[in-house]
């Protein structure tokens, strides 16, 4: 297991302090093409650490509010979706949704255009300049912006995503619920050699090319390991574990579950986007007091 660095808290406090030196300077514009009678969509531009200008899609339901909110933290993919592919558009009628492109993703790819694969190991041999330090800051900045919206119900703020969801909620107060599907930063130095699949294969590629940097990579990854963030997370959490026997299954992530401070539900995925997606939609709705989730599900799930 990667050891929690002695200066873990200092590393992240310095990151947050550096982020705080840059005002967000939000620039918000209506996108009529994607607006409906039940929700208005906005493009949002924000400044993050660097300084670096980010892009996001903010959807606000029609009506008085306040509304529960879903924050889709930056993903490991080049494109930015308004809401995840396959989600009923009517989700936007009940929730504020905000999807953020971290630096390198489409619409936030100037001046840095990330490669996929390539993002996970960009600068990984130096913790201070590792690319993901900026992406974590981006994700925190997105949540900070979202929390300023007057339409938001502060008692119902869900952060959804891969590892970024958990890390963001751990670093920035204000999240009530987290849905996280760890992919990148759980015991990575140990687990990557056990899979040929990307994104972790990036680490294997990198270490095959630069074997002398193995210790430096391990040191960097230790600052990002979810187990080190877990004691900071008080939100109610849905942890999406891999199917039994897969790399990130529930038994493998038991140390993470134990370390989390808030209430945790562990869901082992059934490798069915229908069953797994339905579970998440129903869990979020139940947590947010939405009693008729049936009406905002995709047609083929009803």
């Amino acid at each position: 297991m990667d050891q929690r660095p002695g200066d873990f808290d200092q590393y992240w406090q310095q990151t947050l302090d550096a982020l705080a030196t840059y005002p967000a300077c939000p620039e918000i514009d209506v996108l009529p093409l994607r607006s409906t009678d039940f929700a208005t969509l906005y493009s949002v531009r924000l400044t993050s650490l660097g300084p670096y200008r980010l892009f996001g899609y903010l959807s606000i339901p029609t009506g008085a509010g306040p509304f529960p909110t879903i924050y889709y933290a930056p993903k490991y993919q080049s494109v930015l979706e308004i809401i995840p592919q396959g989600t009923a558009n009517l989700q936007r009628s009940r929730y504020i949704t905000f999807a953020l492109a971290g630096r390198g993703q489409r619409n936030a790819d100037t001046p840095y255009a990330a490669m996929f694969p390539g993002l996970l190991t960009d600068g990984i041999d130096q913790a201070v300049s590792y690319l993901f330090r900026g992406i974590v800051a981006d994700s925190v900045r997105g949540l900070q912006f979202l929390l300023t919206r007057r339409e938001l119900d502060p008692g119902r703020v869900v952060v959804v995503g891969n590892d970024m969801a958990l890390i963001t909620a751990a670093l920035q107060p204000g999240t009530t619920h987290v849905v996280t599907a760890p992919t990148l930063f759980y015991n990575t130095a140990e687990l990557a050699p056990r899979t040929p699949a990307y994104p972790l294969e990036e680490v294997n590629d990198y270490l095959r090319a630069f074997p002398d940097r193995a210790e430096a990579v391990r040191r960097t990854l230790a600052y990002y390991d979810l187990r080190a963030f877990a004691p900071r997370l008080n939100a109610t959490t849905l942890l999406m574990a891999g199917a039994p026997g897969t790399l990130l299954d529930a038994p493998t992530m038991e140390p993470l579950v134990t370390a989390l401070q808030g209430q945790v539900t562990v869901y082992a995925v059934e490798q069915s986007s229908y069953k797994d997606g339905l579970y998440v939609e129903q869990w979020m709705a139940a947590q947010c007091g939405i009693t008729d989730v049936h009406n905002i599900l995709p047609e083929h799930w009803r």
Binding site: P196, Y198, A209, G277, W301
Partner: protein, 310 residues
């Protein structure tokens, strides 16, 4: 319980009278453009077992297309090869696992995808509706050709056996598998998962999820364009390509698919002309279309049709 999906669902799409003439013209225009293939070793991604290359070739309108090419390091004789086509939101993967199974594998990024977006970048979302009122400039005109040209790249490789070519993909990759298998007679086997780009106008009524929702957004903003949109997408609908497919083909769909309605999967499959065709339906599955179970079937299918020497 989710509703039952009718297996005899009839799509509303009609094949335009000049469908073949339209695509003949496109192919003639494409054929006039030299492929100019470029294959650059990628030592960072290469291992002892698999050689990885960044590939570039030129497609219609002289758009430069990127791809990943993998082949087994240790080869005996010529290789069967598989063309891999990407989903709508997916970044084309490096297909190392196919090389480990003994194939040459080309994973294409058609125009607008990452690494192929310098000359054409409609944005995301937006590809599905980019110039959707004009079949001559609609985004998928070039996008389809970019995929088909991947076959030309494989045919140009000396280590590839031109008589053992396959094509596969899921979602948008499934739709592209249909159109590629239809338009490239060199293909010996095709496996399409959760095919997108089939039954466009049916899909936008059957579901309200992205990416098909892009068309509903467009029609809400441009209600007078419905006829033009219907006219355009009829030229690009996989259902209208299906009667050109003669190679062995398997198709898999999820009966709770929230992205590509299963009704359109049935409508497509019923139109495929090949006699050696098989539909796999997965109840309890969405847009994954039973991938966790179906992958082994795809492996056996390609092994049967491509791995054994002819």
């Amino acid at each position: 319980m989710p509703k039952t999906v009718p297996v005899d669902y009839q799509s509303t799409v009609k094949k335009p009278d000049d469908f073949d003439a339209f695509w003949d013209g496109v192919q003639q225009q494409a054929a006039a453009v030299p492929l100019e293939p470029e294959m650059i070793p990628d030592p960072l991604r290469t291992s002892a077992e698999v050689e990885v290359f960044q590939v570039f070739y030129t497609s219609i309108e002289h758009v430069r297309i990127a791809a990943w090419y993998c082949r087994p390091t240790h080869r005996v004789g010529r290789l069967p090869a598989v063309l891999l086509l990407p989903g709508y939101q997916a970044d084309p993967p490096i297909p190392k696992e196919w090389a480990l199974k003994g194939y040459g594998a080309l994973s294409v990024a058609p125009r607008g995808k990452l690494r192929s977006n310098r000359q054409f970048n409609p944005g995301y979302p937006n590809l599905l509706t980019y110039n959707i009122v004009d079949r001559h400039t609609y985004a998928y005109r070039g996008f389809y050709v970019d995929a088909w040209r991947g076959i030309d790249f494989l045919l140009a490789r000396p280590e590839v056996d031109p008589t053992r070519l396959g094509v596969t993909g899921s979602s948008q990759g499934g739709g592209l598998t249909i159109t590629t298998a239809a338009m490239r007679p060199e293909i010996r086997a095709a496996a399409a998962g959760a095919p997108y780009l089939c039954g466009f106008m049916d899909a936008i009524a059957l579901t309200h999820t992205y990416p098909y929702e892009e068309i509903n957004d467009f029609l809400r903003a441009h209600p007078d364009s419905r006829h033009a949109v219907e006219a355009t997408v009829a030229y690009f609908d996989g259902i209208n390509f299906a009667d050109k497919i003669t190679c062995p083909i398997i198709v898999n769909i999820g009966l709770q698919d929230n992205v590509c309605p299963p009704e359109t999967g049935y409508a497509l499959f019923n139109q495929i002309r090949a006699t050696d065709k098989q539909l796999y339906t997965y109840d309890g599955h969405g847009h994954d279309a039973g991938r966790s179970k179906h992958n082994a079937i795809v492996d056996r299918f390609f092994a049967q049709h491509l791995l054994s020497e002819r």
